[in-house]
């Protein structure tokens, strides 16, 4: 069963599923946004068309090796995090690399991509890209803190750093979002920044930074980034489901849960304008940090 072929098959299938789901969610978000704004909106498969169009662009330019390799870095991060995060409970799905789904390893592998892509954006020499990157990194410093606090609260409560163990815990004690609500709150507020929807879309602010880091990328590069973004979105959603909503037993349940989680940043983003960078950081170091502390206290007390 654990042959290399099976392993590779698992990897490929997981990636494809993640890609599909992520793309569909993004299309759906566009659709829903349109409906909220009382438009008809594009079809939900619009993103597939865009991706295919980008992939089928005939020409592309790059400013050097790092710019060329940046999307590949991004892809590595997304796919690695998909492979680390257990998709379904007790390994029903292919347990690819998620030996124990170690959370700290996950935290670090998840910042691998943005940094690689930041390098790529850096070599373009476009000032907008660099500005966007600095904004993105600053924002990351902002939201990582409450996010880590939430994780630490969970870990210290259940004395494990393994995602699999946390999922196993939820089999018995119900969902963690109820048993440790503050951690959930902090994590969700951090997720707003993680998904970079408005009001936290300061990285690729289209109207002031010309889409920031990706402003020099067209064609296949943009396609790679888009698809990796969708895979990454799926990974993050699955992580949240695994952490707080007791994982899922089959794909349908997984889709439902992930989509409910996905609605939060999306709906929050529809009704809010964009922050400035320091406002965003201060936002994350306001209530989310407070909830994080509450979560720590809660975990220490109980």
């Amino acid at each position: 069963m654990e042959s290399v072929g099976y392993y590779i098959l698992g990897v490929i299938v997981t990636i494809i599923v993640a890609f599909m789901v992520g793309m569909t969610y993004m299309g759906l978000s566009r659709k829903i946004t349109a409906r909220v704004q009382n438009r008809k909106g594009p079809p939900f498969y619009q993103n597939f068309i865009d991706a295919f169009k980008l992939a089928s662009k005939e020409t592309a330019i790059h400013h050097g090796f790092m710019h060329h390799a940046g999307p590949a870095f991004l892809m590595v991060a997304s796919i690695m995090s998909v492979l680390i995060i257990p998709v379904l409970n007790d390994g029903k799905w292919f347990p690819n690399l998620n030996f124990d789904g170690d959370l700290i390893f996950l935290l670090y592998i998840m910042v691998f991509g943005p940094l690689g892509m930041a390098l790529g954006a850096g070599q373009t020499g476009n000032p907008n890209s660099a500005i966007g990157v600095t904004r993105g990194l600053s924002q990351m410093v902002g939201f990582e803190i409450p996010w880590v606090m939430a994780l630490v609260a969970l870990m210290m409560q259940y004395q494990t750093t393994s995602l699999v163990d946390l999922m196993a815990v939820q089999q018995t004690t119900g969902w963690l979002m109820f048993s440790s609500p503050f951690a959930f709150l902090a994590a969700v507020l951090a997720m707003l920044g993680m998904f970079r929807y408005s009001p936290f879309d300061i990285v690729g602010a289209p109207t002031e930074l010309a889409s920031g880091p990706v402003s020099e990328n067209g064609g296949k590069y943009l396609f790679t980034m888009m698809s990796s973004g969708s895979i990454f979105a799926f990974a993050k959603l699955t992580l949240y489901v695994d952490l707080f909503m007791g994982g899922a037993d089959n794909l349908i349940e997984l889709l439902i849960k992930t989509f409910t989680i996905y609605l939060i940043p999306m709906l929050y983003g529809m009704v809010s304008p964009r922050y400035r960078t320091e406002q965003a950081i201060r936002y994350f170091w306001g209530w989310p940090l407070f909830f994080g502390f509450l979560a720590l206290v809660h975990a220490m007390v109980f």
């Binding site: 009382n38 295919f52 005939e58 289209p206 889409s211």
Partner: protein, 182 residues
């Protein structure tokens, strides 16, 4: 097998279909026509349902939308932006000014006929063309794309010298455009 004609045709069909349904527009809104873009994009006429959406930079855009008159000052920048776009790329001339100068027919500092400087695929007549007209123009462009007739970029490549010559007539020799090396 892959360079077999039919399969090539099928591939082209699929590609064109995708391009047709995903048009990212770089609106060069220097002219007064730019006022018509927002209504076209937003709730009332909602161009996004046709897959039309704005692009932030020329690297990502498919369509260059010239909204109205072009002064000689902006011309070289427009051309620069066009050359920075990635193939396949299309140009839509928006409003009468891009066709024959329109109400600026005798102005000393606007260019009259856009086609002499950029390979325009679709003209949208009117001053101003209303959003319906704009949508109709996009529909025409989609149709051309589907038929594979929207090959302005190829034209631009082929008689590049012609376009450059016209440009030089306007801006003179002192201003050196970078080479367009395709």
């Amino acid at each position: 097998m892959i360079n077999d004609k039919n399969s090539q045709k099928i591939a082209d069909f699929i590609k064109n279909w995708a391009r047709k349904h995903s048009i990212w527009v770089l609106a060069y809104g220097t002219g007064c026509g730019a006022i018509e873009i927002p209504p076209t994009m937003t709730s009332r006429y909602d161009a996004e349902r046709l897959g039309v959406r704005g692009a932030a930079t020329p690297r990502q855009a498919d369509v260059l939308l010239i909204t109205g008159y072009l002064t000689t000052k902006t011309l070289k920048r427009v051309i620069r932006v066009y050359e920075q776009m990635q193939d396949p790329k299309y140009v839509i001339g928006f409003g009468s000014c891009t066709i024959n100068g329109g109400m600026y027919y005798d102005s000393y500092n606007t260019i009259k006929v856009l086609d002499k400087y950029l390979p325009v695929d679709v003209y949208i007549n009117g001053c101003m063309p209303r959003p319906e007209a704009v949508l109709a123009g996009f529909g025409k462009l989609q149709q051309l794309i589907a038929e594979g007739k929207a090959n302005g970029a190829q034209k631009y490549k082929d008689d590049h010298e012609y376009y450059r010559g016209n440009l030089r007539k306007i801006i003179g020799n002192k201003y050196e455009m970078p080479l367009y090396n395709w």
